[in-house]
Amino acid sequence: MINQHRSASKSTTRFGHAAVTELGWWRAHRFLILRRLSQLSVLSLFAIGYFFRFMAF
């Protein structure tokens, strides 16, 4: 199983394909998705903070 990804030829498959085949889509994109969620959450927390500040004062 560990060597399964070797069979995927780099030149014919998309970049990162070996990881998707071996680990599955979620595990091959886990930190990317979590990072985007984190970045967007911080952004929206500030946005909501502003929104309510305008509402309240």
Binding site: H5, F15, G16, A18, E22, Q39, L43, A47, Y50, A56
Partner: protein, 259 residues
């Protein structure tokens, strides 16, 4: 108390340069605070305290965790790298990685000379916030320049070579316990995918090169983005505490690495 204030209490107030969490805990951008100090003005206590708190948080979590997990500019520069990969653009010539430390020095010297926090007008990090929160489009050209620079001139030019905020967080990260470790470096099959995807590829060499006994990516330029973990089919990398002695010793790597 109106519902809005009640809810507002739970949220950030302010922006990435200076804000209040839960209406009580100050958070401020250490670089902005340093600039205020350099300009000769004594900042408000809450700004200083906020910077100390933020430095503490990132010293614990890993300095450039800010870059890959918080900074909105990172989304733009990642898009640029993705575009480069999709268009199969050739590698560009390297500019020195330590240019960002000269940028940091410059950003801190300018307030001494001018008395103003000059960089805050150009800093793309708060510009994204201003643009999104107030619809202030005045600095958006800087973001466009960064995208075009990263995509067509020098790959990863901004975040990996120039940004002084990234440089400061890299310095903060030197003491952090959280690191990415090549826990299964012996399973590496030299596919070079991590090297392709990593925004700071120079940090990968010490843990993957032949004869390496160091599993931890100690170079604090590593943004702890986890891309190398995601992209690696043989599961070489993991987030680890570098003070956990279980991983601190390993037999020298025998694989002949192309790195």
């Amino acid at each position: 108390m109106p519902l809005a204030t009640f809810l507002g209490l739970w949220l950030f107030k302010g922006n990435l340069s200076s804000s209040l969490l839960l209406d009580t805990i100050p958070l401020s951008d250490p670089l902005a605070t340093l600039q205020v100090l350099m300009s000769g003005h004594w900042p408000e206590l809450s700004l200083l305290l906020g910077a100390v708190i933020v430095v503490g948080i990132y010293a614990l979590l890993g300095g450039r965790v800010f870059c890959s997990w918080v900074c909105p500019v990172n989304i733009i520069t990642d898009l640029a790298s993705w575009t480069r990969r999709r268009l199969s653009l050739p590698r560009t010539s390297e500019i020195p990685q330590n240019l960002r430390y000269y940028m940091l020095a410059l950003v801190l010297i300018l307030p001494i000379l001018t008395g103003f926090t000059v960089w805050e007008w150009l800093n793309p990090v708060p510009i994204v916030y201003r643009a999104l929160l107030f619809g202030a489009g005045s600095g958006l050209w800087i973001l466009a320049v960064i995208f075009l620079l990263d995509t067509f001139v020098v790959e990863r030019a901004w975040c990996s070579h120039l940004c002084p905020t990234g440089a400061l967080f890299s310095l903060i990260g030197k003491v952090s316990p959280v690191k990415v470790a090549a826990v299964r470096a012996d399973a590496c099959d030299n596919c070079m995918d991590c090297f392709t995807v990593c925004p700071e590829r120079q940090v990968l060499k010490p843990v993957l090169k032949k004869g390496s006994t160091q599993p931890f990516i100690l170079n604090s330029d590593c943004t702890l983005c986890g891309r190398c973990i995601d992209v690696c089919a043989p599961r070489v990398f993991q987030y680890k505490n570098r003070f956990n002695s279980k991983y601190s010793n390993r037999i020298p790597l025998k694989v002949e690495s192309k790195l």
